[in-house]
Symmetry: C2
Subunit: 365 residues, 2 copies
């Protein structure tokens, strides 16, 4: 069995697989990459049990067969090779790698790599960059604490399972929520929750290519470009978040998102880290005054804002980090809608109707 393959595409495929396959595992077979030689080239695959991944790498292949190798060593060697082309020669026990002046013989593993199976057909389709943007813009709101269960994932709603149809990514940790709504439908119907680790890998893999999607009770399967993934679904159901997003407000502010995020960050440098990083907002007829106070002193900054009623004045407080996180995905102007301390505030992007963030104000005396 002999293979000639461009270094660049082999290295790229292995890099994505290496990120997923564990370096060490109580099951040593899990740290292996399976390489199948077929007519279309090399098919490299692996799994960490939560994510299965496969990369098809076009190559000149003589012979057929299949081997298993420790993925990390193989990946490091391929990235370091001096030539543009790589020659792989398989014998029963060894893989001989040659490139330029370099040659190596890697022992093949006697263990079997996990066998991963992908759907024969995909029922849904979406632009890769749209799905990546939707996931990336809500990722920050995912819960971190172990006990927060399903909040530690991002919910994906397809078709009729989403309030306005289309496709929606939602994340929340109970104190804040973000969603990104795509008008584009996939053809699938249903809602799933993906673990944040799976979301991160998916964002890294998605490009401009179309993404094909397929849903079962236990996994979301994704096929894009040379890669196929199965992403294990999180168990448990996401609460009805739509019900807690207010639609009536007492006051709206329109202001530059970046300017507000910078001002809040600056003022919060003096906020008390042990008291929720509290910053106070006082809105008074077109002016937003932001203040904070802590061990080292106090700080304030006043921004001119476009202010719409009915209320002329309002005082409330936020965790500065939550507000800054919620502002990051917004380019240009943001609209902040408020009803005081006891009702969640909502942030929208004036330029991008897909994004909504909700932040619960701090309950203050």
């Amino acid at each position: 069995m002999h293979v000639i393959v461009p270094k660049k595409s082999l290295a790229e495929g292995l890099t994505h697989i290496e990120r997923i396959i564990p370096t060490r595992s109580s099951n040593p077979g899990l740290s292996l990459v399976r390489i199948e030689l077929g007519e279309s080239g090399l098919i490299c695959s692996g799994s960490n049990l939560d994510i299965d991944i496969e990369a098809t790498i076009p190559a000149e292949v003589t012979g057929i067969g299949e081997i298993a190798l420790p993925v990390q060593v193989f990946g490091q060697i391929v990235r370091a090779l001096p030539g543009d082309q790589v020659s792989l020669q398989f014998t029963e026990r060894e893989l001989a790698i040659e490139s330029g002046s370099y040659a190596t013989k890697l022992q093949l593993s006697e263990l079997a790599a996990p066998r991963v199976i992908f759907p024969a057909r995909y029922g849904g389709e979406l632009r890769g960059s749209d799905l990546a943007a939707a996931l990336a813009k809500v990722r920050y709101a995912v819960a971190i604490a172990e006990y927060q269960a399903v909040f530690r994932g991002v919910k994906l709603e397809f078709g009729q399972a989403s309030p306005r149809g289309g496709t929606r990514a939602v994340a929340s940790d109970g104190f804040r929520l973000a969603y990104y709504h795509l008008a584009e439908a996939t053809g699938l119907t249903g809602a799933v929750v993906l673990a944040s680790r799976s979301v991160d890998e998916l964002i890294k893999l998605l490009g401009e290519d179309e993404v094909k999607l397929e849903l079962t009770d236990t996994q979301l399967s994704v096929s894009t470009g040379r890669f196929r993934l199965n992403l294990k679904l999180m168990e448990g159901s996401f609460p009805d978040y739509q019900r807690v997003i207010p639609s009536q407000f007492d006051l709206h502010l329109t202001l530059d998102a970046k300017g507000l995020a910078e001002a809040v960050s600056r003022v919060a440098l003096l906020a008390d880290k042990t008291a929720n990083n509290r910053v106070d907002f006082f809105i008074n007829q077109g002016h937003l005054q932001i203040t904070a106070e802590g061990t080292y002193g106090r700080s304030q900054e006043t921004l001119a804002v476009v202010h719409e009623g009915p209320e002329l004045q309002m005082a409330l407080a936020y965790n500065a980090k939550y507000l800054v996180d919620a502002l990051q995905p917004i380019q240009g102007k943001a609209r902040l809608s408020l009803s005081g301390r006891t009702s969640p505030s909502v942030l929208l992007s004036l330029e991008d109707p897909g994004y909504l963030a909700m932040v619960v104000p701090l309950r203050t005396a």
Copy 2:
């Protein structure tokens, strides 16, 4: 007391001071920056007992006086300020900072910041970029282990204290050694050892400006641009390294430094990390064959080299990391001079006569 100061120069000065001043210390005064208001501007200073630092920042100052502030909070605020200019207004208890739309009041510390004293005159002078290059090129060879005492610093030799006069930086961990020799003399005579932490700070501070130097029994004082530093000397004396550098060799190789470093790194991917990362060299009439063997298999690469006798063949082994580290400072061609397994090998740069590295081969069966 009122000060108007450009944000950029204040932020830059504080950044260097913040790196040195500890965030937390059993002596809380040590985490403070002292700010003196004088005719020439703000003089900011601090110390971690091993390094004293002072930055003079040109500013419009009304009044004189001196205060102490927690340096980290002050530095964070200054870097985040929205305006190009900063107004500082000192009262007995507070510092009011204003810039653009932002205002803060920081409580002054009731503790005293350490008072640092710099020499009235400096007896030596050198180009900052030359001193930085000499230190940076040997820094890798400094010992890491606690018990290696004075080897954990870089030796600086001035004038007659250096084998060829001029100025020399030397580092060694007992298994390898590097020196960088500047023909330029400072006017000082003597040899000192600076802790690696002090060397790192010095490299970051030095620019194209002239550096003024002064030496006492306990410290090296450095004045460059707006900064002054006292660097505490390490105790103990560096062994006579010059004696262990061979001057006669059985074989010389001339080859591209970057190409050799890459080949050694590549081959070493299969080396056994628990056996000194061993790579074997076999030189045979103009060819250098590099090989390694470990748990996963074996690898080899052959480079064509310019080979000068008297020996036509030689076999020896190195710790791959030591060889790669020693090659990094060399641009272009390197000359590697060898006398087999029992004598240190020496690396020179053909383009830069200042650099010399010595690597002890592995004692192999």
